[in-house]
């Protein structure tokens, strides 16, 4: 039980470091650690399939993409655009207002059922595969079209226009 609170503390700490780090490269590295703690959360929830997918897709693919673009654009602390302190304080206050509103609305929320989570077998690969390929077969196929569209779009956007080159 205490493992959850320790990992949750680490997640919050590294998420804060992500948005407050001065250098963009440091931000990406802190975000990788944040996603690793999320993987630990998935393991604690016994969602093994999502833990592996989170590890491979988020920490592997997406973060490498971010880091690759940062290196490609050659960004560092000197090129970082800065907002005025007033805007920063206002942003933090607005975010905390959102948190207070959410927490206040949770007070009236009555969660029923047993407290224990993670004592289920539904997160295993076999169970999820059965659900995915029976109940959610059509959305699964449509998501492949979405990924194809994104791939074509990304290549089209990033390609050099021969007229301008």
């Amino acid at each position: 039980m205490s493992v959850f609170y320790f990992v949750a503390f680490l997640s919050i700490f590294f998420a804060l470091m992500t948005i407050f780090a001065k250098s963009p490269v440091h931000s990406v590295l802190y975000l990788v650690i944040t996603f690793f703690t999320f993987t630990v959360h998935y393991i604690l929830l016994n969602a093994q399939f999502l833990a592996i997918v989170n590890f491979i897709v988020y920490m592997g693919a997406i973060m490498v993409l971010f880091l690759f673009v940062l290196m490609l654009l050659n960004l560092n602390k000197d090129t970082e655009p800065l907002k005025s302190n007033l805007v920063k304080v206002m942003g933090v206050i607005a975010g905390l207002c959102l948190l207070v509103t959410l927490a206040g609305s949770f007070r009236v929320l009555e969660v029923t059922g047993p407290d224990a989570v993670g004592n289920t077998e539904i997160g295993l690969v076999g169970n999820l595969g059965k659900v995915l390929f029976s109940e959610f077969l059509l959305p699964f196929e449509i998501s492949s079209i979405l990924l194809l569209t994104a791939m074509v779009g990304a290549v089209l956007l990033a390609k050099n226009d021969p007229k301008n080159a």
């Binding site: 963009p24 929830l45 993409l65 971010f66 942003g91 948190l99 989570v117 998501s143 990304a154």
Partner: protein
């Protein structure tokens, strides 16, 4: 495996809700206070991840596998979003030589 399951038993669902809303709020604050477009996209990833974790917690809590399948779709969507978004950022950088979000206000016309 048994010890891990033993460890997690007894964490109330309320604590998951609070933790995920905290991470979501950190993502919102990141969008508000940074001007670097790449870091704004990273904050959006943070928000998507907090929602993913909360969906998984609800799914494990109620014993319904649909929530975890939905998280899988959100991950596919996030990958597509990052690919297209970063391509747009590279395009913008090529034209304006900066990743400042204010460089995009010329979209206002």
């Amino acid at each position: 495996m048994e010890t891990i399951v033993q460890e997690i038993q007894g964490v109330p669902l309320n604590h998951y809700i609070l933790f995920c809303s905290l991470i979501f709020t950190i993502g919102v604050i990141g969008v508000l206070i940074r001007r670097n477009v790449i870091i704004i996209m990273m904050s959006i990833e943070l928000m998507l991840n907090s929602v993913n974790l909360l969906l998984t917690a609800f799914s494990a809590h109620s014993g319904d596998a649909s929530g975890q399948v939905f998280v899988f779709f959100i991950m596919a969507l996030a990958a597509a979003e990052v690919a297209v978004g970063l391509a747009i950022i590279v395009m913008v950088y090529r034209n304006t030589r900066s990743v400042d979000i204010n460089a995009l206000n010329r979209l206002r016309g």
